[in-house]
């Protein structure tokens, strides 16, 4: 429950605000940033929720904006913070980008959305697909007055009736993101696979869908022997269209899909993963004159696969200058604002291995924080199509609609880096990295 929601610029000035309850006066918005600055000055961390003089401030950051919710009660913090994130994603879908400019230009529609998405501090409809059906930027052009889509209050609140397509098609994307952390001696410290099944659904009417995966738990419960590999998903999350109790009972994934694009499910596996793209760097640091890197990349997956758009970010000291690169493949460039250089390889075949060298100059005079080298890890971005690390497979997608049309499902697999694919394998040669124990 939120009493007031506001979007603020970085100076703490409200760009737009909406009061849902009377108990917190809008003047409290202006107190938000000073409190944040005070906390920072006192060396305390600024947490997403904090309380001052009986008012609770809950906020998130989105690019150069704060989204702030105020409340006096013992509010459901997770709900409100998530709602703020949802507000961001709805506004982004409406305006492509959410920034000061787009807020100023669209305040009328933002007011409308805020009115529809929350009532008396309780979140209501936050599905942007549905909102777009009755809150549009060109509403005045409509001859007929809009009515609330039945979906807003329907048990199937995510799909409207009467959708028609000439050609009924479903596209399934199985995307696995690999997060992993490798420590300095090359061991994988942490790894996880975050999978997502995304759908693009162009189906008429109210179709019933059933998705079959090579899910180990289901195979075991039905006493069926899987041909080939079955995978064990550690935790599965579903779009609200999936019948959770059905899944709990017999692991069937059955649902009436929303129209268009959406994420059907996500899953997580923490089975150990071998780093698909391995990178290591040898660093020669000559304090006060230059620093040299030798970077090796190795594609540790089967030959028949290829990684596309590989980008390897190797951190360098903030004050490095005059870069010189030599690479056996791809291109290298210096990205000073990230304090790194990036090695881009368009296509990296399975099992292949490449080298590159980099040379930077260093200023001869250094500040007193000399010993404080940032120890940022090497990070990698990549995409491997037609391949999943976990071995997940779509066994079937059954589509039943009362009109009895035939629809074709298309399935695509892809594996890519997650938001944290990092290797602490940039090792300095020679210089004592750390004094060994006494």
């Amino acid at each position: 429950m939120a009493s007031l929601i506001a979007i603020l610029d970085l100076k703490g000035k409200p760009l737009i605000q909406r009061s849902y309850r009377d108990d917190v006066p809008p003047s409290y918005i202006e107190r938000f940033l000073p409190i944040v600055l005070d906390l920072e000055e006192e060396g305390q961390q600024v947490t997403p929720c904090f309380t001052r003089e009986g008012v609770n401030y809950m906020h998130i950051r989105h690019s150069n904006l704060y989204l702030l919710a105020l409340s006096k009660r013992n509010t459901n913090a997770a709900e409100i913070i998530l709602f703020l994130h949802r507000l961001v994603s709805v506004l982004v879908e409406y305006f492509k980008e959410l920034e000061e400019e787009s807020i100023r230009d669209n305040f009328v529609i933002i007011y409308e959305l805020m009115d529809e998405m929350m009532d008396f501090g309780y979140p209501q409809t936050t599905e942007s697909k549905i909102l777009q059906e009755y809150i549009t930027q060109e509403s005045y052009k409509l001859e007929v007055q809009v009515r609330p889509p039945i979906a807003v209050t329907n048990a199937v609140s995510w799909r409207s009736e009467g959708i028609r397509y000439r050609k009924n098609e479903v596209f399934l994307d199985v995307i696995e993101s690999v997060n992993l952390l490798v420590n300095a001696n090359g061991n994988v410290v942490r790894s996880e696979i975050l999978g997502a099944v995304k759908m693009k659904c162009y189906l008429s009417g109210m179709p019933e869908l059933r998705l079959g995966l090579n899910d180990k738990v289901m195979f075991e419960s039905t006493g069926r022997n899987a041909r080939g590999k079955a995978i064990e998903m550690e935790d599965v999350k579903f779009h609200q269209c999936v019948r959770l109790s059905r899944f709990e009972n017999d692991r069937t994934i059955s649902f009436i899909p929303p129209d268009g694009e959406f994420e059907l499910m996500s899953y997580r596996l923490s089975t150990p993963v071998k780093p698909l793209v391995w990178v290591e760097a040898a660093v020669e640091h000559h304090k006060g004159s230059r620093i040299e890197y030798m970077v090796k990349v190795k594609a540790q997956f089967k030959r028949r696969s290829t990684a596309n758009n590989v980008e390897i970010y190797v951190p360098v000291p903030d004050d490095a200058d005059t870069p010189k690169f030599r690479a056996s493949t791809g291109s290298v460039s210096y990205v000073p604002d990230k304090s790194a250089f990036v090695w881009k390889i368009k296509q990296l075949g399975g099992g292949r291995e490449f080298l590159m060298r980099a040379h930077f100059g260093l200023p001869s005079v250094r500040g007193e924080h000399e010993s404080l080298d940032k120890r940022a890890p090497i990070t990698v971005k990549f995409e491997i199509p037609y391949f999943t690390v976990s071995g997940i497979q779509v066994r079937y997608l059954k589509i039943v609609e009362k009109s009895g049309y035939q629809a074709l499902p298309w399935v695509r697999y892809i594996t890519q880096n997650g938001d944290d694919y990092s290797l602490r394998t940039a090792l300095e040669k020679g210089s004592a990295q750390i004094v060994q124990s006494v």
Partner: protein, 730 residues
């Protein structure tokens, strides 16, 4: 659009008024937009109220919304004029378009003007029975709005009964909003001290909600789960039933649904007797908790705070999941800090090696605050796991080897705690620590090192030289360092009297004559007196055996923990504080707190106790920095009160009888934590007990502090363990 942002021209409002009354539709609408634009940038356009009002009756839905928005903002400033809008509102609630009906009833509830409320009841009555569920769901919340303004009206018109009936509505969204409205009313009624339960939950209701739960939107599910959490099950069977029906929600993509479902299960699990079922439930909880960490950082933080609480209740909950809490390089600091705390909680013999190598990595990052916390975590791990202590010490030594100033200082502070826990085990480390003496400039680090030197004075050959350095600069040091130096020198003297006679003389002289802190002076006087009258007694006091320190398993008391677990993921469970400590005294919470005070005296005491526990809990987080202890002594109440108090037998009785004091439990739980916030009366008792006499019980009759009264008594340990802790200083 740019014209909306044009700089104010002369008489802008005048122009707007003209446009608002224009004969052209488009011009009027454009003017309304400009008015709203001005309102958004907080220019005062309240003067245009009558002109805007004229545009209320329109078929253009967008225009209607804008006018309504304007009304919501300015209704309070123009209560007289709002009445003019009533007709249109009432008419709109009869509109054939449900969107307009809902909009009218929603806006009327938000106007918050006395005048209009009376006109709200009839349309509301109608809308609650509307054919369209969209209107019904909006009307349901409107009842809660009305209750907030004028509770009598809700009761007189029988809206409450109507809402209760609506729980059986065929539409799940209507059910969800009805439940949200009733919960809101219930909260407001409780806050206002209404004795009757405005939203009693029956088995029947629960069954209806369990059905609706699977069908309604994500936010509706949160509302329903909150109600299920409030329900007290009839028997164990029903609790089991609820848990089983709620568990599928763990698979929901929305983190607040998952956390709310976990709350419901945690609450109803209390009544489940079957050990197996509880275990299954706990096992099912772990994977969704881990997945919460794939959310945006702010949500992660909320999740981590709650996971922390869950772990205090169920330490085995995530025992195999240490690695998922490893910090990512780009995590915001607030996330990293929470992760560190959870990592220490999950530390066990099996996973200590990867944990230590990870913590060592963190200790070499750039963020000073994070580095310090990581080093602290290493120390906590050492204290938690006996078998790993040596490995921890080795890591600390490596870190000291980096010679980065703040790393060394923090490591020294942490080493002091390790010495407390494992006395005489790591003496080999002392030379390395002493070698860094010159690097230390923070009082806490200095005081820690001095404590170590004093403690191991017998084994450090040049202890007198090292302490001599601090004695020479005695008056320039901060008070905690002075107190430590004083104690350490006395310890040295008691162990090696021959070599340090001069030093002790010097420090006592300086401390009693040239020092401006009364605490330092007083302590010096006591030592002097002790040493000169009975060195044996001095030994018994100063060199007494200290009880080992342990890592507190919980940061809040058991009762509070249960309460907080029932409030996942509300703010209380995020702050780890009971709601009473931060809930506003606004219009709802207001007077009620006062009323409650009188009515529920017992509750008050319970609450206060809980608050104290919180305070103590917060102190306990700092248990390991004994800076706290030093300040504990520094409390004027400590010594100043001693002399006066101890002379009256009554006070002495008070001291002897501290075990009957409820605070005693807290004290012993949290060791020497300083109970700053305790009420005045017991505080001196603690101060006195803590101040050195804890080691030998004060004879109730002792009229003054004389060594003879103290010396014959053998050092006493058990009952006053907590207070003895303070002795670590001596």
């Amino acid at each position: 659009m740019s014209s909306f942002r044009a700089p104010p021209r002369k008489g802008e409002n005048f122009e707007l008024a003209a446009d608002l009354n224009s004969e052209y539709k488009d011009k009027r609408k454009d003017a309304i937009k400009r008015v709203i634009a001005n309102m958004t940038v907080q220019k005062d356009v309240s003067g245009l109220f009558p002109d805007v009002l004229k545009n209320m009756q329109t078929d253009d839905l967008e225009q209607k919304k804008l006018v309504y928005l304007y009304l919501m903002n300015y209704a309070k400033t123009q209560p007289e004029l709002v009445i003019l809008a009533v007709n249109t509102f009432v008419k709109d609630t009869d509109d054939p378009n449900p969107l307009v009906r809902a909009l009218a009833i929603r806006t009327m509830g938000c106007l918050r003007a006395e005048k209009i409320i009376d006109y709200l009841c009839d349309p509301l009555q109608k809308c609650l029975k509307d054919d369209n569920p969209y209107v019904r769901k909006t009307a349901a919340l409107c009842v809660a709005k009305l209750y907030d303004l004028k509770p009598e009206l809700v009761i007189e018109n029988g809206f409450l009964e109507q809402l209760r009936d609506m729980i059986a509505d065929s539409n799940p969204m209507v059910v969800a909003n009805t439940v949200a409205a009733l919960t809101d009313i219930h909260a407001a009624a409780v806050a206002a001290g209404v004795p009757r339960d405005q939203f009693p939950i029956s088995t029947d209701i629960v069954n209806k909600l369990l059905v609706a739960l699977n069908e309604c939107s994500e936010w509706g599910r949160v509302a329903i789960l909150n109600v299920l959490a409030r329900y007290t099950a009839e028997d164990a069977g029903e609790s089991e039933h609820i848990c089983e029906r709620v568990v599928p929600q763990f698979q929901h993509a929305n983190a607040s649904v998952v956390l709310s479902a976990i709350k419901v299960v945690m609450i109803h699990m209390r009544d489940i007797s079957s050990e197996n079922l509880s275990k299954t439930l706990i096992r099912k909880m772990a994977p969704p908790l881990v997945t919460l960490l794939s959310n945006p950082p702010e949500v992660q933080w909320v999740a981590l705070r709650n996971i922390n609480l869950l772990l205090q209740k169920r330490p085995d909950l995530l025992s195999n999941e240490l690695r998922v809490f490893f910090c990512k390089y780009n995590d915001p600091l607030y996330v990293k800090v929470e992760k560190l705390d959870i990592m220490v909680r999950l530390a066990s013999e099996n996973n200590v090696d990867p944990l230590l190598s990870e913590l060592k990595e963190y200790a070499q990052e750039v963020d000073v605050d994070f580095v310090r916390r990581s080093i602290k975590a290493i120390g906590q791990t050492a204290i938690k796991i006996d078998e790993a202590a040596e490995r921890c010490v080795n890591v600390l030594l490596e870190l000291i080897g980096t010679r980065v100033s703040y790393v060394v200082q923090e490591a020294v502070v942490v080493m002091k705690d390790i010495f407390r826990k494992y006395p005489s085990t790591y003496e080999g480390v002392i030379p390395t620590l002493c070698a860094n003496l010159d690097e230390l400039d923070e009082p806490e680090a200095k005081a820690s090192l001095i404590w170590i030197i004093g403690e191991y004075a017998k084994k450090i050959d040049n202890a007198d030289e090292l302490l001599g350095i601090f004695v020479d600069t005695f008056t320039e040091e901060s008070y905690p360092v002075q107190l430590q130096t004083l104690t350490a020198v006395v310890k040295l003297y008691l162990q090696k009297p021959e070599s340090s006679q001069g030093l002790v003389q010097k420090v006592l002289n300086t401390a009693t004559k040239d020092c401006d802190s009364p605490d330092v002076r007083d302590r010096a006087y006591i030592y002097w007196r002790l040493l000169s009258t009975d060195p044996g007694a001095a030994k018994a006091v100063v060199l007494a055996v200290r009880p080992p320190i342990t890592l507190p398993r919980t940061t809040v008391s058991a009762v509070l923990l249960e309460e907080l677990l029932g409030e996942i993921p509300l703010l209380a469970s995020v702050y780890h504080k009971p709601a009473e400590t931060f809930v506003g005294r606004g219009r709802i919470g207001a007077d009620t707190v006062q009323q409650k005070k009188a009515e529920l005296a017992d509750d008050r005491i319970a609450t206060q106790k809980a608050l104290q526990t919180v305070a103590a809990g917060q102190q306990a987080e700092n248990l390991l920095d004994f800076d706290d202890d030093v300040q504990g002594d520094g409390q004027p109440s400590g010594l100043a009160a001693t002399t006066i108090l101890a002379q009256t037998p009554a006070a002495a009785n008070l001291l002897a009888g501290t075990s009957s004091n409820p605070l005693d439990d807290l004290v012993s739980i949290f060791g020497g934590a300083n109970l700053n916030s305790t009420p005045a009366a017991p505080a001196p008792a603690n101060g006195l007990g803590g101040f050195g006499f804890g080691a030998s019980p004060l004879a109730p009759a002792a009229p003054s502090i004389t060594p003879t009264a103290l010396s014959p008594q053998p050092p006493q340990q058990p009952a006053q363990g907590g207070q003895d802790d303070l002795l670590g200083l001596f």
